[in-house]
Amino acid sequence: MKIKRIAAMLLAGIMTVGLCSCASTTTSSNDSSSEPASAAEGAENSSAEGGDWAYIADKGTFVAGITYFEPMNYFDENGELIGFETEFTKAVCEKLGVEAKFQEIEWDKKEIELNAKTIDAIWNGLTVTEERKENMAFSTPYIRNKQVVVIKTDNADKYKDIESMAGASCAAESGSAGQSAIEADAVLSQNEFIGASAQKDVLLEVKSGTVELGVIDYVMAKASIGADTDYSDLMIVENVELQPEEYAIGLRKEDTETLAKINAAIDELVADGTLKQIAEKYDLADVYAFN
């Protein structure tokens, strides 16, 4: 009998996950994306009597879904979690009176994590996009990042400007801001495109010579490429700037109360200069959104 129930759950689950993943990848089609969202709302009502903030206040912790990368969330020599987003999250949570918790996630499952309530926010350099707005709520953007082109230093003379890049193969993380930047660019959109599963894989593609150009965000590029890394033979092409992007905190769409509280906390941190200080500490002053 138990087995029957598990089997039923499995079947139901397979269908639901199917729906959710459809919802997170399709760009339009309101009908299919609204269904799992309303299911999640129903679930929420049954588990937390108060509003969405009461649910977080009750458990006393706020779980930020992250992946580890410098300079956002990473470890210092002592194994302490540090980084711009780490300190930002802690600062906001302090204002809200809850404990900040960090949960590593697989980036391509961030929407599932959020809706399954295994995390409370995606807070890890999340780019604001129109598609994502359909499935989650965004806080005030706090970083204005740009997409840059990464090449091998050997090719420094070959690719000096955007015109010289015509016809060169081009990689970016699938579904990332990098991909949309390529699609929006008159030259790059005509080139062969390779979709990698993560931004760091884009670097790997460029380094191993499987593609000529890699498009990743400036923050990531600046932190990953350098003299004492394995990517010391890569460089950012100066003077080529693609479509800019904004980073914000991603929340469950129905968590309106939480969103308001977080935005208020951000305002305070901007006003008293705390956020700018954190940005400077992690060398992000040039992309800080409130300059």
Partner: protein, 215 residues
């Protein structure tokens, strides 16, 4: 990052890999036997339920099952999710129990009817026949296919990272992401090779030990 530091960090991930491997084996070996008994049941509905269950589990990717066990409760029922490692281990145990159950079934069905009848005419009970006559012969027959599954399990543990459990591969990826060095990703291969190598030797020994008689 030095070789030793990387090794130490990977060893942490490897510990999780070992844990998933070990607990899965301990759980799936007996659970598989229960599923075998269910799928060989003379009561048709029970047999049907077990066979369907095995079909579903073997017919869908383990990765999907892990995602389902972890996210399913929250997405479908709004319930609290299990701890990540627990979810992974549950999915692994169920998945591997189904594969094991089919191997057990094959082993049990390959034992000639005459062995059961010989036990019967000698006045043994059904339990005695199973444990004193059949079981050992089944074990001897299933060690080679089980060995295959067990080696596969070593490598399948890397699927745990789909819900961000930091096993060996994920540990290496984290180093790659944070330190911008690539070689740890290939270094993990050495861990897997060493571990599956030790297992192969042990399984070979077991096979040799059981080979004192033929048939």
């Amino acid at each position: 990052m030095s070789f030793l530091e990387v090794t130490a960090q990977l060893a942490d991930g490897f510990l999780t890999t070992l844990m998933i491997f070990g607990i899965t084996l301990v759980g799936a070996l007996p659970l598989g036997l229960l599923i075998t008994l269910g799928s060989m049941s003379k009561v048709k509905p029970i047999k049907w339920v077990f066979k369907t269950f095995v079909w579903i589990i073997r017919g869908t990717p383990l990765m999907l099952q892990i995602i389902l066990v972890f996210f399913g409760p929250g997405l479908i029922f709004g319930a609290k999710a299990l701890p990540r490692l627990v979810a992974v281990i549950i999915a692994f145990i169920i998945n591997y129990a189904c594969y094991f159950s089919e191997i057990y079934r094959g082993g049990i069905e390959s034992i000639p009817k005459g062995q059961y009848e010989a036990g019967q005419v000698l006045g043994m009970t059904k339990t005695q026949i199973f444990f004193k006559v059949v079981l050992f012969q089944v074990i001897k027959r299933i060690v080679p296919p089980m060995g295959n599954e067990i080696i596969t399990l070593v490598k399948d543990t890397s699927l745990a990272r789909v819900i961000a459990v930091v096993e060996l591969v994920k540990a290496a990826e984290t180093i790659v992401a944070l330190k911008s060095i690539i070689w740890p990703l290939f270094y993990v291969g050495a861990f897997y090779l060493l571990f599956s190598g030790i297992l192969s030797v042990l399984l070979n020994l077991a096979e040799k030990k059981l080979n004192y008689y033929q048939g």
